[in-house]
């Protein structure tokens, strides 16, 4: 097994997409490219746990083979990092399951092993989670209704980089917001190792009440392609490709 790079999109929204393609359909498409789509739905403080408009949150994450959670602002920091890590484990477990099927037959998954052997497999998954490289593209919904939540989102993203940078593996983050000025998405931060620089730049919010979640997801999908090219060249130079597992 070659230790590759896990690619994730983290969508932070309050739901209610209303323009362009169906975001769940786009999420399926993105998942096909080997990129996981995780979604965090942010509630208003006076909202109930399951308000209308946030149903799409779970659907997008399922289609994107990722993890979703609906939270109040206060819990955002911790949620952002748990969702990211959960999705990593889920993806890695999927990879390990694939390998197991090849070795042990089509009906074998980690769960179908007896508990004793499962423990050993989980250790491998954990090792991979600690050492693999991760790219997280954060896509923040900055439509009018999200306006008062942006400071909390910023804080949560800094916290995410604190968590991720405690790992042994390398991380790269980038941040986009939508809707952008006369375009679908707006780049806030290009691929970088740390997120502590974000305090300054979050663009002025656009009014108008459109939330083009689907088109935005589609647009950021291509941002991985670009970085991959550059990185794969770099990799060959440094020849840092390692073998994972024991």
């Amino acid at each position: 097994m070659r230790k590759g790079t896990l690619k994730q999109i983290l969508l932070i929204t309050d739901g209610c997409s209303n323009q362009g393609e169906d975001p769940a359909m786009i999420a399926s498409l993105v998942a096909q490219q080997g990129i996981t789509v995780n979604v965090i739905g942010v509630l208003e403080d006076d909202q109930h746990e399951n308000p209308p408009g946030l149903e799409e949150v779970e659907e997008i994450a399922q289609a994107g083979e990722g993890v979703s959670q609906i939270v109040y602002q206060k819990a955002l920091s911790q949620t952002v990092q748990t969702v990211t890590k959960q999705a990593m484990t889920q993806t890695l477990q999927g990879v390990v399951n694939q390998e197991l099927k090849q070795i042990l037959g089509p009906n074998q998954t980690v769960e179908s092993l007896p508990p004793e052997q499962r423990g050993e497999v989980m250790e491998v998954v954990e090792d991979l989670g600690e050492t693999c490289n991760v790219e997280v593209l954060v896509l923040v919904d900055t439509s009018a209704s999200m306006q008062n939540k942006i400071p909390t989102v910023k804080e949560a993203l800094i916290d995410l980089s604190v968590s991720m940078n405690a790992r042994i593996g390398k991380n790269r983050f980038s941040i986009y917001t939508f809707p952008g000025k006369r375009k679908v998405v707006q780049k806030v931060i290009d691929w970088s190792d740390k997120l502590d620089t974000i305090s300054s730049v979050f663009p002025k919010l656009t009014s108008g009440g459109i939330t083009p979640t689907g088109p935005a997801l589609k647009e950021v999908m291509y941002q991985f392609g670009k970085s991959k090219l550059i990185r794969s060249m770099k990799r060959e130079d440094e020849s840092t490709i390692e073998q994972a597992g024991n």
């Binding site: 508990p115 989980m122 968590s163 405690a166």
Partner: protein, 315 residues
């Protein structure tokens, strides 16, 4: 079997039987002990009548990870660090999804605040020492507790001793902390990384003390470090440990035993030896700092003179 499943997959009523798929052991549910991010813990009766704690969850991966930790902890020499592990299995309800569970020792005890209310707050110092010596053994073994908090500790009886009940956050040193609680996390307080190292646990020890002093906890404020320093100062119950807590908060201690020694000296009414290189607190002890270097310098001077004389006259 009168087993019923409610909407939530891991809810069991008293009297339900959870039977393992692999090892076929039946466990009768007595009561719910607690619910967490990963599944629920039930007090159960084993077929031989022994009371056990059973943790069950639909997150098989998380259960497996915790089992791995419990197995590791059982290898540490001396008094058991976590609850001992009895059984690991799956439960396949006739309807619904596969659940994973493990069965461990049922630790009977009181929460720390409850015990202290009854027996006096002086016990807190003893518990801190016990906690630090347990942590030292854990760290020696290459692990960090991670999710250390007041809720994860119980006081067992005769003689009163603290025991860890939830070790799910235990992480290998050098990795990223697996599980944490915001109030206890030094990353949240902007006082360090989330990398697993002994000082991460020692920071949590400080927060554990603060949580005991301020049961309702408190906000981070604009200057987190200042907030913590003030809170440590203002807490009357923490006064005897103040110096140590402040140092651990700042990440001064490299090991648990270092903090243990200093705290031990504080509690046995001896003065904390101040380290010349890294004096962090400005307190009354500063005058000892000045005497030690003097003695040392004169000693060095004396010895070198001696050597000089020997060399000069006898060679």
């Amino acid at each position: 079997m009168n087993q019923r499943l409610s909407k939530q997959a891991t809810s069991f009523f008293p009297g339900s039987v959870i039977r393992g798929h692999w090892h076929k052991q039946p466990y009768t549910v007595v009561s719910l002990l607690g619910k967490g991010a990963i599944g629920s813990v039930y007090l159960c009766k084993r077929s031989d009548g022994k009371k056990v704690a059973l943790k069950i969850s639909e997150k098989s991966a998380s259960i497996t990870t915790e089992v791995n930790v419990l197995k590791q902890l059982s290898k540490v020499q001396g008094k058991l660090l976590g609850p001992s592990l009895f059984d690991v299995d799956d439960f396949l309800p006739s309807s619904g999804m596969r659940l994973s569970f493990y069965v461990m020792e049922y630790v009977e005890g009181k929460p720390v605040p409850e015990f202290l209310k009854k027996r006096g707050k002086d016990w807190f110092g003893v518990f801190l020492l016990q906690l630090l010596s347990d942590l030292e053994r854990l760290h020696q073994h290459g692990w960090v507790f991670g999710d250390l908090k007041l809720d994860n500790i119980l006081v067992t009886d005769t003689p009163p001793r603290i025991r860890w009940i939830d070790v799910g956050g235990t992480t290998q040193i050098g990795r990223s902390i697996k599980e944490y609680t915001e109030f206890y996390d030094r990353g949240y307080w902007q006082l360090g990384t989330r990398r697993a190292e002994p000082s991460y646990d020692l920071f949590a020890v400080v927060m554990l003390a603060l949580h005991y002093a301020y049961p309702k906890q408190f906000e981070r404020g604009t200057n987190p470090e200042q907030t913590l320093r003030n809170k440590i100062k203002q807490a009357h119950v923490l006064q005897p440990y103040q110096v140590c807590l402040e140092r651990a908060m700042k990440g001064y201690y490299r090991s648990s035993s270092q903090m243990l020694n200093e705290l031990n000296q504080l509690l046995t009414k001896k003065r904390v030896p101040t380290q010349r290189t890294q004096a962090i607190t400005k307190n009354k002890l500063t005058h000892t700092e000045t005497t030690f270097p003097l003695i040392e310098t004169s000693a060095i001077g004396f010895v070198s003179t001696l050597f000089f004389i020997i060399y000069h006259f006898f060679m």
